[in-house]
């Protein structure tokens, strides 16, 4: 029973990790940019959510109405203003610049919000649960997982069924030719980052409801995001969801054996999969 419970809870936790990872996956897929600041952007979104709930006195989920467009706007400006200038044949500049960005965000949050752990109050949502046979499932983890599935489905639909998605894929495929087809790649990349950070906003708010956070927790979220992306296979969004679930299940199983093993079990699962399937479980077919 403990085992089944751990698997189910881990699966639901995996939804959150998939949300951490989806933005990373999207950015890497479209512009081959590895965003080291991604975890800190998640934390930034959580703080924006906190400020919104405090200032406007609204529920954290309602704060999404403010934080999602705000993060999308930040994403577009960040891409057009900074990150586009780092992209080129060399992958080092974007790594260094996003690393710098990570430091800047962390310190700005420390300055603005102090190092004290914060948490968003979501009222009954935090404790409500539904009974499923012998299991008791928290409403918040269930909601998080449902949102993750919806977000991934939405991104998948955007990528394969809309003109914007075609623009993303064409630019990802061959930037120079895309330009000759009338696509302004700087604008396309701006839109991709906007979309990625809109997803990050959702991830940040759900993180802030689930656990307490402080300016230093971004790094850990970044690692979980990376692990989920790589387990699932680069460039495969549904794979990213599976990667998140595997990571979540490994962590909760580890924690049932010994609370200290939670993170370790996740990393071990990641390393084992990386050793057995270096391209992840569902790599995008390349041609």
């Amino acid at each position: 029973m403990d085992f089944l419970n751990a698997v189910v809870q881990g699966t639901l936790l995996g939804g959150l990790y998939a949300l951490f990872a989806a933005g990373l996956s999207l950015i890497f897929g479209v512009m081959r940019l590895v965003n080291i600041a991604h975890g800190d952007l998640i934390v930034l979104a959580a703080y924006l959510g906190l400020t919104t709930t405090v200032v406007l006195g609204v529920h954290p989920l309602v704060a999404l109405i403010v934080v999602v467009p705000a993060m999308a706007g930040i994403g577009y400006v960040l891409q057009r203003g900074v990150l586009n200038h780092t992209l080129g044949d060399d992958i080092l500049p974007p790594l260094l610049v996003t690393f710098g960005l990570s430091v800047i965000i962390q310190n700005a949050l420390l300055e603005g919000y102090s190092a004290d752990p914060q948490k968003m109050d979501a009222g009954v949502l935090e404790t409500a649960s539904v009974a499923l046979g012998p299991l008791s499932l928290g409403l918040l983890p269930l909601l998080t997982f449902a949102i993750a599935v919806a977000v991934i489905a939405g991104l998948q639909w955007t990528f394969y069924r809309t003109p914007l998605g075609r623009a993303f894929r064409a630019t990802s495929d061959n930037q120079d030719i895309a330009q000759l087809m009338g696509l302004n790649k700087r604008h396309v990349f701006g839109l991709a980052m906007a979309l990625a950070l809109a997803v990050t906003a959702v991830a940040g708010i759900l993180l802030g409801i689930r656990t307490s956070f402080d300016p230093s927790v971004g790094g850990g979220r970044l690692i979980f995001g990376f692990e989920a992306v790589i387990i699932g296979g680069l460039g495969n969004l549904w794979g990213t969801l599976v990667g998140g679930v595997i990571l979540g299940v490994a962590q909760t199983l580890g924690a049932t054996i010994n609370p200290g093993w939670q993170l370790l079990a996740g990393h071990i699962a990641f390393l084992v999969i990386l050793a057995v399937r270096p391209n992840g479980l569902f790599p995008r077919i390349s041609g």
């Binding site: 075609r166 064409a170 061959n174 330009q179 000759l180 390349s286 041609g287």
Partner: protein, 242 residues
């Protein structure tokens, strides 16, 4: 007749290598111009300068009366300039239809049914309709060449730049290509065509220019140009090498 494209003293060099050296010529609306020249003469670079992939060091390029010398490639594409590549460069992870749709939606600015209609018509014209849902990366060379033309046409160009599109085709394929290009030309699209397959070129174009070392060395009525000593020398040279 009004000019659709005008190059005035366009130059471009990479270090000591000059790919365009004071190139000047005009193209009338609805005209088909052929471009000849030995390999490495700067023909493809000239296309890159017209489409905005390369920016001219000096000189001026205007399209439909507007100065486009500093305009980005994306804006030139939307303005009505499209090209095909000598070495086909499809979006390999996307289907043939999606490749066409990128041009129809982004370059021609169409949407929804209208864009789909155009893509289907063009794919039918270029004999790729049966492959519409195939991944572009898996196409044969002939079909990749057809896709180059398809994408260029789906951009609804007013100026079409063709880069050695007949190279490597069989005689029968070449004949059907010539018919297709003639019908595109008849619909009012202005064309500049770089081609080594001279008979294909001669069947379509109304005027020829010859380029060597980035300079225009001859210009005029096709038959007269083909018989000129400069061209004889270049092409006899090529024949001897081949």
């Amino acid at each position: 007749m009004a000019q659709i494209l005008q190059l005035d003293g366009v130059s471009k060099s990479f270090g000591a290598v000059t790919v365009a050296d004071g190139l000047s010529y005009g193209l009338a609306k609805g005209e088909a111009l052929g471009v000849l020249g030995p390999n490495g003469a700067g023909k493809t670079s000239m296309f890159n300068l017209i489409t905005g992939t390369l920016m001219a060091d000096s000189g001026r390029i205007s399209f439909e009366g507007e100065d486009i010398t500093r305009m980005s490639a994306a804006r030139r594409s939307r303005a009505g300039i499209a090209r095909s590549f000598q070495v086909p460069q499809p979006f390999t992870h996307m289907t043939v239809f999606e490749n066409a749709m990128v041009a129809a939606t982004q370059s021609a600015g169409l949407s929804g049914r209208e864009a789909e209609r155009l893509c289907i018509d063009v794919l039918d014209q270029t004999e790729l309709l049966g492959k519409a849902n195939d991944r572009a990366g898996g196409l044969t060379l002939l079909n990749r060449k057809r896709l180059e033309l398809t994408r260029a046409l789906c951009a609804k160009p007013r100026l079409l730049l063709l880069d050695e599109i007949a190279g490597g085709l069989t005689e029968a394929e070449c004949t059907s290509l010539i018919a297709t290009i003639k019908s595109i030309h008849a619909s009012g699209v202005s064309i500049i065509w770089i081609e080594h397959v001279v008979h294909a070129l001669m069947a379509v174009v109304e005027r020829l220019i010859v380029i060597d070392f980035g300079r225009k060395i001859a210009e005029g009525e096709p038959r007269a140009i083909m018989e000129s000593p400069e061209v004889q020398e270049i092409y006899l040279g090529i024949e001897a090498d081949a």
